[in-house]
Symmetry: C2
Subunit: 215 residues, 2 copies
């Protein structure tokens, strides 16, 4: 069976933004604060380092039933038995990723436009990452921001969970959810926060408030 | 069952050294010239490009029963159903790679010293890549060259095929085999040759001559 995912708040990692703290320290704090999913995204390390980081996070998260999603590298996801894989438009084709990962893995796909969502519909994925919603310095290889209007245009195209990323903080998370997202993913809002646990808690509180209004 | 491998001559790819020719064109010529194994090693491209290159080579090589070995990325190897995976000391751990790839995949490991060979012995691999034998401009992340003496010291440590790489050409291939290697792998000696087919043929001829003397 698929692992249960609470898509409310996802932490996407970036060691270089952790202000000298270790990744496990920041992830540990983020999870205590209410982060429901952790995505390991590390672009500037070799495969062995990536594997070691993934293994460390897996050991940290598994006892707490927090799904670990690996960015791009399906082999690393398999090697550490992560719950899922997140792929972008220039990663493995979705079909190949699903075949490698098996039917029970969580697979997320970054989409930057309505066309990306439509192109992906035929294949079994679990959620869409909408990227970027606002402009952000942490990802430079992306298109013009979707904005709240872009989230609103994508919402009716799919019943799958939409996780918005890019420039999201406690200050704007509510309007992103109001625009149609099911959850938000953040990098610097947690990784670079003076108190990552408190930052996650504040985001989670905002998210839960919108959810309680909605249901 | 394991695919049959003729370890005599391996081509390791590098698109940037192909003098403007396409990779498939160079690989095609190399195989006509007697290359027995092709290893796709592409460090500077995204996962989707790597996958597309792997798929193109797989379609080219499969009908000719030439094994395709993917460098580092086990997920790409699985996605295109390549015959094998080549890993280095900073790639996935051998045990994880074998688990992902399954018992019938060809798995090769780069070793740079006798200690590397000894450390790897417990786990099921299919061949060792000895790297680098001579100094070479195409790989910059490696140790001091092993030299012919290094090949000779490693030879008695393992019954597995030893494939030597680094600065090998038709001019020195014979002495590398005489020192104890079962085969040679080349990058620029084929990729950057004015006539890759002729370059492969010349290397293969040298290799076959040593083999015929040996047996």
């Amino acid at each position: 069976v698929k692992p249960y995912c609470d898509y409310g708040l996802t932490l996407v990692t970036d060691r270089e933004l952790c202000l000298g703290r270790s990744l496990t320290e920041v992830v540990d704090a983020a999870v205590r604060g209410g982060t429901g999913i952790v995505q390991l995204r590390e672009k500037s390390c070799d495969s062995r380092q990536f594997y070691e980081l993934a293994k460390a996070l897996r050991e940290l998260l598994r006892p707490r039933a927090i799904p670990l999603i690996i960015n791009d590298r399906a082999d690393i996801a398999l090697a550490v038995e992560a719950e899922g894989l997140h792929i972008g438009q220039s990663d493995l084709p979705l079909r190949a990723a699903r075949e490698i990962m098996g039917p029970n893995a969580i697979i997320g796909l970054s989409v930057e436009s309505e066309a990306d969502v439509r192109a992906a519909e035929a294949v079994a994925i679990d959620y869409f990452g909408l990227s970027p919603v606002f402009s952000t310095p942490t990802k430079t290889d992306t298109n013009t921001p979707l904005g709240l209007a872009g989230v609103g245009r994508i919402r009716p195209l799919t019943p799958l969970p939409l996780v918005a990323i890019g420039g999201i903080s406690a200050a704007n998370a509510a309007e992103v959810l109001a625009a149609g997202a099911d959850g938000v993913a953040v990098v610097s809002a947690i990784c670079s926060a003076p108190d990552p646990e408190q930052a996650a808690r504040s985001l989670k509180k905002t998210i839960d408030q919108v959810r309680n209004r909605r249901y």
